[in-house]
């Protein structure tokens, strides 16, 4: 039950964050900082992501 509630609460946050990423992506592109070797980790995996 808690898990479902958490998912419901996370959905608007994820939606807003992903849309903000579009704006941040434009800013990043405009600044020319579009490196593909930047670190982004995923759980249980190595902390490097293109």
């Amino acid at each position: 039950m808690t898990s479902i509630l958490e998912k419901l609460l996370f959905f608007p946050y994820t939606f807003v964050l992903m849309n903000w990423a579009v704006v941040a992506g434009l800013y990043s592109f405009a600044r020319g900082s579009t490196g593909v070797w930047e670190p982004v980790s995923r759980k249980e995996r190595a902390p490097w992501r293109w």
């Binding site: 994820t14 992903m18 579009v22 592109f29 490097w48």
Partner: protein
């Protein structure tokens, strides 16, 4: 004026998230273009085409051995398979590790040239009829290569994207915010593939005919979108095959997904500069899909802002109710943000219990 902006923003966003998938569903029903997939196997008089797996790597010492083992364990004749690790001047010992792997050809650059440069170098070495591109972190399913290659029996197919499955900590397909979004995205890709082509592949697993590869410009972020889109512009199909699977862990938090998204979305703007003909309906055979799927998503945040701001200037029960719903939605987003921050502090406390 405010009313016009309100409704234009609403209809535009509704089209991107609901109208477009609905359009695809109808389109697929009315004008499907099935793929004539054919599995190759010895003993049936049809031999498998030769395949070169090209993996560009930076600092990947934690993934490289597992990835190479995974490639060698694929269900595909070893004599038809070439595995190329193209190294971009790693500094963490990736080169030493990869050279220990038997049967792996290593291409290395002395200085950093970026992923695009590493891919170009890898393809230069490749001899296979089919090129399979992959990242080093994700794990292929055993039959993934056989499944993806079978699509090239259809002579209209120039590129094939496999399916990336994001797993949660229980090893099941992730269904939280980002996981749910990815599942929605894959459904759209499947429908786009059924009518013509997908406007982009999955970097974790995609394959192309070797002769269709055009060297990438330096600094390209989304090779998995630019390569298939060039192929589509050349008159071929770029399809999605959910039977060719790769697995990865889901992002540990929405913030991590945000970082990844920011870079890939920056790559989408780069795509428009690199291939401006994508915006010309007479040049781009999947113009509707490209505009609805790729461009539409880039416009949604501005639509959301316009929707909210215009709503502030509108009176009447209906508009006030919509405004209340919007405010409630953003309040929920703030609660989600607080929960996420709290969860991360909790994880950090567990990871670093202190003295």
């Amino acid at each position: 004026m405010a009313q016009m902006i309100f409704w234009a923003a609403f209809v535009g966003m509704l089209y991107v998230y609901a109208g477009y998938p609905l359009l695809l569903a109808v389109w697929r029903r009315l004008a499907p273009r099935p793929i004539h997939k054919r599995h190759y196997s010895l003993g049936q008089g049809r031999c498998e085409p030769t395949v070169s797996i090209v993996i560009a790597m930076g600092n990947e010492n934690r993934n490289v051995l597992a990835k190479m083992r995974n490639c060698m364990e694929l269900d595909y004749p070893a004599s038809k398979l070439q595995i190329i690790a193209s190294l971009d001047a790693p500094t963490d010992g990736t080169d030493t590790l990869v050279r220990r792997c038997p049967g792996v050809e290593v291409v290395s650059s002395q200085a950093r040239i970026g992923k695009a440069g590493a891919l170009n170098n890898g393809v230069e070495r490749a001899t296979g009829e089919i090129l399979l591109f992959a990242d080093s972190r994700q794990h292929f399913e055993k039959h993934a290569l056989r499944e993806i290659v079978a699509n090239f029996a259809d002579q209209s197919v120039g590129a094939v994207s496999g399916e990336l499955i994001l797993l949660d900590e229980r090893g099941q397909e992730s269904s939280d915010g980002a996981g749910a979004y990815w599942r929605y995205e894959k459904k759209i890709r499947a429908m786009e593939s059924a009518i013509h082509s997908v406007p982009g592949a999955t970097g974790a697993i995609y394959a192309i005919r070797r002769e269709l590869f055009v060297p990438l410009s330096g600094g390209i972020v989304l090779d998995d979108v630019i390569i298939p889109m060039r192929i589509v512009l050349g008159g071929w199909r770029a399809i999605f095959d959910s039977a060719a699977r790769a697995y990865d862990g889901a992002s540990e938090s929405p913030e991590r997904e945000y970082q990844r998204k920011t870079r890939t979305l920056a790559g989408n703007y780069q795509l428009l500069v690199e291939l401006p003909q994508l915006l010309l309906p007479w040049r781009n055979p999947i113009f509707v899909q490209f505009v609805s799927h790729k461009l539409g998503r880039l416009l949604v945040p501005y639509g959301l802002a316009a929707f909210f701001i215009s709503n502030l200037f509108l009176t009447g029960v209906f508009y006030r109710t919509v405004l209340a719903c919007q405010v409630f939605w953003y309040l929920l987003a703030v609660v989600g943000w607080l929960l996420s921050t709290q969860r991360q502090s909790h994880h950090a406390a567990i990871s670093n219990p202190g003295p």
